[in-house]
Amino acid sequence: MNVPGCPVQPDNFMETLLWLLYQAAGLAPVIPLDEKLRPQWLFGKTVHEGCDRAGYYEQGDFAHDYNSPKCLVKVGCWGPVVNCNVTKRGWMDGIGGCPNVGGICIACTMPGFPDKFMPFMDEPPGASLSGALIKSPYGPFIRLMRSHTNKTANKEPKWRHNRAELTTGYDPRWSSGGD
């Protein structure tokens, strides 16, 4: 079986080992593995699916250099096509990680790492097409609409104000015909 990563996320490794020990002792069923013999619950999702920057991708909003807290796909992140849970789990005790904290995913859990994924700091070949699709017009449109709704969501409701009159609709008695 395989617990890939360079290096392996330590909790991924220990957790897998523990399952195997339980299995060896007859206390757990056979460990669920994928076709590459990786534990399914650890490597069944992509980096991107667990990344808190994926929302920027969805809105077609990409980082152009590493100063940006937005999606890093255009500056080298392989996250959308890499099987790894580090964006979800963090590096230790939920701290650190890769694209979620500003480090491009260089696909260190994948077969063929590192050569297949170099040069690391360039946009992955497949990303330009999917990036272009999301960028126009879907992503920017969604972003625009959300920013409008976000402005409304950030407003206090009309009934909350400093004026003397009470506009909350307060009425201690049941009034069926009320306005």
Binding site: C6, P7, D65, Y66, N67, P69, L72, V86, G90, W91, M92, D93, I95, G96, G97, C98, V101, G102, G103, I104, C105, I106, C108, P114, M118, P119, F120, M121
Partner: protein, 597 residues
């Protein structure tokens, strides 16, 4: 356990003893000695490594921006030191300086790395050699004495006798052993906040970092750092008590691992207000680093200039499994200041591995080459060591007297570290004074003082970084173009000592790349002048203090010496239990055409 073979040499009773691999270190190191048990002395020592890595070979032709990511994989404990050093070299080649905040973030990550790595090595690996169980086996008389020796700093660390401290060192069960494991977790979390992942950072790039510099980031770091200070404040006086006890109780113990003071430090923690990564200004910005680079020969600080250090680098052969490269391509004739660059300089090195049988009797016996520093004053090729890292760093910084921050200050003969009030303990000041010897005990003692140094520096860097953030200076990365032709060099301190990366770019690709980490310096074999490497030199001629006779000999004094250098020869550690005649030169290089006989 060691392997042994007895040879009757004239009237002396010389026994061959070897430890291969040496355990509780990172990597594959063999130590082969000849011991004169009648006179209780090590007559000869050879240090070998049976592993070839080949980074300098396969880096050729790669995109230079990948160098930091790839070279991190050299090491499973200090990979980030390589990334940092590689980025320094690349920044020189690309002509780019990271924004100040990016530089402070790298410094914070590296400070956490020093705290983490020195602690786990000292408390969980070195102290096993000084723990009650080990001392009972090797020197029962000494343990008896430790039971009655009051610890002078008991009020600071809480252990009444030296033997109490030794019991707390016992692996898996001792209090200090367990506390250190916890400490090393918290410091690694600090590291991950800045560099993303331990041990191969995700957020470091040439040109800066991708770390998101919010106040939250620095708060999370500072909270953990403050929690660590109590442990550091107890560790320093506790280490002093144990090491001073060895000097007091075993007369002459200062001779263990003693060698001529030949120390190198390549400097750490850039000062972003000074560094511009231009080679022409390297001496100046090198001196501004928060650990001062320097070379110390016989107690004298010969230079603090990174240019002098760079120009004097020589990679010698003599006992290593490589072909010479004197007739290979010369990539760099002169540095940008016009200094001649030798063919044996890393910029001009061509690595051609030649696997062969190990020959400890006058032939080649190691995959490690012999890095030396050419001393223009004398014409000597000096086998510098790093003192395990901290000894050289503190020594160079102390003598240079340049570092002056609120928490750490160099005086010209010492380094003062001032740690503020923490959860349990009040403000405390420690002073590391330049020691009389470059020996095993002082290498180990310096390590704990450097943990205090790194903690003090981390406090300084957090304050600097937060000031930038509060001013709105949150840029952490500077863009750059990779030139078609360029050279670069990076100087840094890996946890266990000097680290340099030398880079030559042609047609926008890596034409030559040579990392020189600390262990090639420390573990180097005899060069073609016959000069032994530091491990060899430190062990050779050393007295034996172990109470065991030849039959039950553990070689504790030799192991303490080798481990005091914090050996790191990735990778593969297991214990070899040999018996009898294993010294028939059966094989050595583990891989290659002649390797598996």
């Amino acid at each position: 356990m060691a392997t042994r073979e007895q040879i009757e040499t004239e009237k002396r009773n010389i026994v061959d003893m070897s430890w291969d691999p040496v355990t509780r270190i990172v990597g594959n190191l063999g130590i082969y000695t000849k011991i004169d048990f009648d006179n209780r002395e090590v007559i000869e020592c050879k240090s070998t490594s049976s592993i070839f890595r080949g980074y300098s070979v396969f880096m050729k032709g790669k995109d230079p921006r990948d160098a930091g990511f790839i070279t991190s994989r050299i090491c499973g404990i200090c990979g980030d030191n390589h990334t940092t050093c590689s980025n320094y070299a690349q920044q020189m080649a690309y002509g780019v300086s990271p924004p100040h905040l990016g530089e402070w973030i790298v410094n914070l990550g590296e400070a956490a790395e020093y705290m983490f790595d020195h602690t786990i090595f000292q408390d969980n690996l070195v102290f096993v050699d000084f723990c009650e169980q080990m001392v009972r086996e090797t020197n029962p008389g000494l343990l008896e004495r430790a039971e009655h020796a009051e610890a002078p700093n008991a009020d600071k660390h809480g252990y009444r006798t030296i033997a109490d401290i030794m019991r707390a060192f016992n692996p898996f069960e001792g209090e200090i052993y367990k506390e250190a494991l916890h400490f090393s977790r918290v410091t690694r979390e600090m590291f991950c906040l800045m560099e993303g992942r331990h041990v191969h950072p995700s957020t470091l790039y040439p040109g800066g970092v991708g770390t998101v510099p919010t106040p939250q980031l620095f708060t999370d770091y500072l909270v953990r750092l403050m929690r660590c200070l109590d442990f550091v404040k107890r560790s320093v006086p506790m280490n002093d008590d144990v090491f001073n006890f060895f000097y007091d109780a075993l007369s002459g113990y200062h001779e263990v691992g003693l060698r001529r003071t030949l120390l190198g430090c390549w400097g750490a923690f850039q000062d972003p207000t000074v560094v511009d990564y231009r080679y022409e200004n390297m001496a100046e910005w090198g001196r501004a680093m928060f650990v001062t680079p320097g070379i110390i020969v016989d107690g004298e600080l010969v230079t603090t200039s990174l240019v002098d250090i760079n120009v004097g680098l020589r990679i010698l052969l003599g006992s290593s499994y490589y072909e010479d490269w004197t007739n290979e391509e010369r990539f760099v004739d002169r540095d940008p200041l016009g200094n001649e660059i030798d063919q044996r300089h890393p910029w001009n090195q061509t690595t051609i591995p030649r696997p062969q049988r190990r020959d400890l009797e006058g032939g080649n016996y190691s995959w490690v080459m012999s890095p030396r520093w050419y001393d223009r004053r004398t014409g000597d090729h000096l086998a510098l060591d790093t003192g395990g890292g901290p000894l050289a760093r503190l020594w160079a910084t102390a003598l240079a007297g340049l570092v002056d921050t609120p928490y750490v200050k160099a005086t010209g003969s010492s380094v003062q570290m001032n740690l503020p009030r923490s959860a349990q303990l009040p403000e405390m000041t420690f002073e590391w004074n330049v020691p009389q010897w470059s020996n095993t005990i002082e290498r180990d003692r310096a390590r704990v003082y450097f943990i205090a140094y790194a903690a003090g520096m981390a406090l300084h860097f957090v304050e600097k970084a937060l000031a930038e953030v509060r001013r709105g200076q949150t840029k952490v990365f500077e863009n750059f173009d990779v030139p078609d032709e360029a050279i670069g060099c990076g100087f840094h301190e890996a946890v266990r000592g000097v680290l340099s990366h030398h880079l030559v770019i042609r047609d926008g690709k890596i034409a030559n790349y040579h990392p020189y980490p600390p262990t090639p310096w420390n573990a180097s074999p005899r060069d073609h002048f016959g000069t032994p490497g530091p491990y060899e030199d430190a062990v050779q001629g050393q007295k034996i203090f172990e109470e065991n006779g030849q039959e039950n000999f553990r070689g504790i004094d030799i192991m303490r010496t080798v481990r005091s250098f914090d050996p790191c020869l990735p990778c593969g550690v297991h214990m070899y239990l040999g018996k009898g005649k294993t010294l028939q030169r059966v094989h050595s290089p583990m891989f290659g055409p002649n390797g598996s006989t």
